[in-house]
């Protein structure tokens, strides 16, 4: 015979009496809170539960938000094709470097524009001919 199916022993009888006694010692505040919890549970049971299709009402908002996120992600990660764009600020920085470089200005003083244009034209003629 299993231990549980044995006739209840003296110890078990006493233990049950003591456990019942421990229930009677639960204070009024705790009893009141349990009472409130019970009523709250029963009230919640009566409240209509949100139906699954109600979540569909949020679909347009969720869709718009998702689309906006996708567009933002695509724009953020889009790789430029060909040469990387040169920023205006880079041009300005180069101009400033040229102006600040006194040697470069000296080179510009001896600038022989017509010669360099003629040389370039000659090179182009040789390549095309």
């Amino acid at each position: 015979m299993s231990p549980v199916n044995e006739p209840v022993t003296e110890f078990e009888r006493n233990a049950r009496v003591v456990l019942e006694e421990s229930l009677s010692r639960i204070d009024g505040r705790t009893r009141s809170r349990l009472n409130q919890a019970r009523h709250a549970a029963l009230a919640a049971a009566g409240a209509p539960r949100p139906a699954w299709w109600r979540s569909l009402t949020l679909m347009p908002t969720a869709g718009a938000a998702t689309a906006a996120l996708l567009v933002a992600a695509v724009l953020w990660h889009r790789q430029p094709s060909g040469e990387p764009p040169v920023l205006e600020s880079q041009h300005a920085a180069e101009d400033m470097d040229l102006l600040a470089d006194s040697e470069a200005l000296e080179l510009l003083d001896g600038w022989d524009g017509p010669f360099y244009e003629w040389a370039t034209a000659q090179t182009d003629n040789v390549e095309s001919g």
């Binding site: 078990e12 006493n14 456990l19 006694e21 349990l34 409130q36 019970r38 029963l42 009230a43 049971a45």
Partner: protein, 208 residues
Amino acid sequence: MSEFATLASPYSMPAALHGDVDLTDPEAQTRSRALNQFLAGVELKAFKIAQAALRHEDDALDAVQDAMLQLVRAYADRPAEEWKPLFYRILENRIRDLQRRRTVRGRVIAWLPFRGDDDDDEPDPIAQAPSPEPQPPRRLELDQAVTALEKALGELPRRQQQAFLLRALEGLDVAETAAAMGCSQGSVKTHYFRALQALRAQLGELYV
């Protein structure tokens, strides 16, 4: 903070305690009454079981409240005979969740450099003070027996404690206890037997 803090006081509750239940529906009314009666019958024992496992009054109350809610929401339509094992199964799951959460919280708090002392955990000196009224011997014996049994129960392994309380306090039979604990009937018998042995070894024959 306890979720009970969010509950309305009984004085501010609506006259219709069962919220949006259609009280004109006799079937809903009957089920609501039956559930109320069932929950009223188990709430004190459930609280004791949760308190023995969690050793914290607010956590125990939260566990019982959650179990009530879950039972009413998910299993109200089941036959009333099934409510008790279902309720205790839900309660056990909730207790386990709270224990896990507490373990995690304990680990996190252990890593915090500054740990504020929670004043709420300090015992109330007035509540702790012995009553000036002399207690009759019988009452005193019972008080001592309750204290000793609760202490011994607190030292039992969780499954043994659960099997013992469901059997001895709630009065579930082996099959119901097995359903509530989510284990075989053989396991229930083993846990219960070991719990009895451990308690007897610690308490001797309880004198009441």
